[in-house]
């Protein structure tokens, strides 16, 4: 499947399809369903310094063409993630991208420092789109200067490349992308969820105990495509695209918009076998359409060549 092989900063991927953070835990459950080594990479659940229980339940609600979640970054904490989860996952031949979260700059720095030293972690994904941060609120993901500063601090301590995960809840996504590029980011992952809410008509209250939650799934795909289209033309950073992917056509759309790899989140819930299925179907599609390499499609919507900096070497 060399036409799917993808090189990104710190990552050599068999193929460019990976489960998105938070939709795949640390891989244990899915490993019972298929061999995780077929995946391009795995983006593990957000890790914070201390263990977190997260928000009260209900934590999910369905919406038209999408879903809301307010898990609240539940995770066993840095020590257990580095000590148990990552080593366990390392039995599979698949690069690990660690999703880093925190409440203040120091938390991020601490998690990034430690987790990036794990011999099994190939890259970090800086989650600056979490609605639960203490200091500065959602400022990390919505104020360019703050995002830049955080990126810089994390880059200083990280042993591996740092991808910054952008929030779509902003007026100007290009400004955010440029800020983290200035801060030294090696790549971008986008998009995280849009903030949304559903109300239970029986109780008159929000369905989610946390009231608001993050909207994901096919409903947000047009927003993701638009943002990747804009950002990919204005920065030189490679983009791992996500937001509503559930078919090969979706993947092609993300590539044409400007992505260099993709992640699948919510679709794992409707079909837990979606990632391996998409990997096979994408390969078949490229063969059928005589496309030498998937990276030829990157940015096709705005770039005649469709060639970008990052692709199979």
């Amino acid at each position: 499947m060399s036409r799917l092989q993808t090189k990104l900063p710190g990552l050599t991927l068999k193929n460019p399809i990976m489960p998105a953070s938070g939709c795949f835990g640390f891989g244990r459950e899915f490993s019972g369903l298929y061999d995780l080594s077929v995946l391009g990479a795995i983006m593990i659940k957000a890790t914070t310094e201390e263990p977190r229980f997260g928000n009260p339940t209900p934590r999910v609600a369905e919406t038209p063409g999408g879903m809301l979640n307010a898990i609240g970054l539940q995770n066993p904490g840095l020590e257990k993630v580095v000590g148990n989860e990552i080593p366990w996952l390392s039995q599979f031949d698949v690069p690990i991208i660690a999703n880093v979260a925190g409440s203040q700059v120091e938390d991020y720095v601490e998690v990034a420092r430690t987790i990036s030293k794990s011999e099994y972690v190939q890259a970090l994904e800086l989650n600056i789109s979490c609605p639960n941060v203490k200091t500065g609120g959602i400022a990390f993901g919505t104020v360019p200067e703050t995002a830049k500063h955080l990126t810089k601090k994390v880059k200083e301590v990280s042993d591996v490349p740092v991808y910054v995960k952008l929030s779509p809840n902003v007026s100007n996504i290009v400004e955010m992308a440029k800020a983290v590029e200035d801060g030294g980011a090696d790549g971008l992952t986008m998009i995280n969820t849009l903030l949304g809410m559903r109300i239970d008509l029986k109780t008159g209250k929000p369905i989610l105990a946390n009231r608001t939650g993050g909207l994901s799934g096919p409903a947000i795909k047009p927003v993701a495509i638009r943002m990747i289209y804009e950002v990919s033309q204005q920065t030189t950073l490679p983009i791992i695209g996500m937001g509503g992917i559930s078919t090969v056509e979706d993947i092609l759309e993300f590539y044409m918009a400007g992505a260099s790899a993709v992640a699948v989140g919510t679709a794992n819930f409707a079909n837990p076998f979606i990632c391996p299925e998409l990997i096979e179907e994408l390969d078949a599609y490229l063969i059928e359409h005589n496309i030498d390499h998937i990276s030829d499609l990157t940015g096709r919507s705005w770039n005649k060549d469709g060639k970008r900096t990052y692709h199979c070497s």
Partner: protein
Amino acid sequence: MIKKEWMTVLSQKSIAKNIYELTLEGELVQEMNEPGRFVHLKVNGQMMPLLRRPISIASIDQANSRFTMIYRAEGEGTKLLAEKKAGDTVDVLGPLGNGFPIEEAQPGETAILVGGGIGVPPLYELSKRLNERGVKTIHVLGFQSANVAFYMEKFSELGETYAATVDGTLGTKGFVTDAIHQYNLQADILYSCGPVSMLKALEGLHLTKKGFISLEERMGCGIGACFACVCHTQNDPTGTEYRKVCSDGPVFPIGEVAL
């Protein structure tokens, strides 16, 4: 092992107001070993509704590769499910979770099975298995009203069966706990499934030494990966210890999880 299969509808019928009994056929039934586990259903091959629906396994017929579910058609997904006819297919992921431990009840002992509303279905396969094992079963089934009650006769064939309805249209007027008091029911072991308020009340009764309850929670993945369905433990009710309803449960020993 967890499998995903397009199973075939053998029959679907309405057995009470908005309550349907759906029997599916397929390979996946061979994986169904325990009462109290559930399946996660995608009601159509389209993008809406997006998520699967968790539904308990109500009875298993491995010889014929069939199993039956009983569900209430209420929201978008279950209403679409209710439209399925014999010959249609349904995308089933399962079996999921951990069921009721029948080995905890010894032959000769008495088990009391308490169900509320759409919590009743998984108790049916459980009761069949307990009876096969030589355990005597008493059933207490709570419903809103007589018109949404179901399976009273089927349970009666397996053991004493009491009903409680909120409006008094069937059995004891009130809740399952009222029926338990009225008939002064006693048992060695409790198995229950239903709304949290019911499970809490039962826990408070301390009716039996041993007891197992089955929980409901809104789910994402259904397999333990997304942290949608967690609950606290009674050991650490405000801390970071947790159980996942989908993969650690839905059945837990009484006292394990915070209700």
